[in-house]
Symmetry: C2
Amino acid sequence: MKSEHIPRATIQRLALYVQVLETFRREGSEVLSSEVLAKACNVNPSQIRKDLAYFGEFGVRGVGYFVQDLISSIKQALGVDRVWKAALVGVGNLGKALLRHQDFPRRGFHIVGAFDCDPFKIGEEVSGLEVICSRRLKEKVEELDIEIGLITTPPERAQRAANYLVDAGVRGIINFAPARINVPETVYVEYVDFFHHLYAVAFNLNMDNQDR
Amino acid sequence: MKSEHIPRATIQRLALYVQVLETFRREGSEVLSSEVLAKACNVNPSQIRKDLAYFGEFGVRGVGYFVQDLISSIKQALGVDRVWKAALVGVGNLGKALLRHQDFPRRGFHIVGAFDCDPFKIGEEVSGLEVICSRRLKEKVEELDIEIGLITTPPERAQRAANYLVDAGVRGIINFAPARINVPETVYVEYVDFFHHLYAVAFNLNMDNQDR
């Protein structure tokens, strides 16, 4: 298994392949040619072969990929063939939407704790979870075996949320707040920022408009 | 202005610089050394200089960058120094969260129309907007001068939402649904996929666990 050296871009493409393969599976496809998969993913077939080669040999010449097998293999390679328990910090609009999002449990990410500092929110129930004071994160992370933290606070409270998560021993954070956070090097952080995408769309439309 | 050739990675970094600069501005900084900015963005100072060189000369030797000026210049270069009107299709949990998200109007993206196919949702009011039947998108896009579409439907309805938006003349789409969509080449699409990020975190934690 060479997976320790899988580059980040490959991991992102592998996640994309799973998404596209799941769409084909939903539509009833059992086998897929590498050309069809490549086209649907908007990459070339040799890139797919290269990415999959990190963790095995897949595809049958003249036949293609077996959809279910490939989904299972990629998920196993990525470590998402198991359940990951997560804590969400910041029960605002976005936090509530994520707590109610059916795709998290469906994909193996179970949000088992919802935390907020706001005394008006503590005790409120969202999607079957009672909102708990963020100061109790450490206790709850141990009790509930939480490994991943989702930050959905306003930007000015993201660092404090990160501090609570790090103190509690969480080693993986997904930060949805539009703010950078500082954490020790042993903690892995991913940023989800809608505005990068909005800016990219705006930039492209703007260029288009100037060309007209 | 060389901005037509700005690579995608640069645009993403420019969006990041704006985010970080806005944090410093919020905290009262007026001038920032290039080292401090670079460290906060987790890139090296020469990368920042290279990225900014696409649209002008910034920074004063021995002083640094003027925070407010730089924010304004980057926003102008990206085309986000104006208001962009957007339509949201799919008023589920995520759709509602985005409609209520204060950061959209704050950053110049005004969601002025909310659309859904579900007869039980049509007529409902969310964040001051009445939910309208998606079949009326074309009429509303013209009436409200909408240029950007946000798709927040379940994955199996994303393509239909995209078709409605394309038919209505929208040329920029941000797809939050976990599904690929097919659109004409003249339409620019950005994908927001939380699960790429979740998978990346899971993969890294998994590797960490194996190392222990």
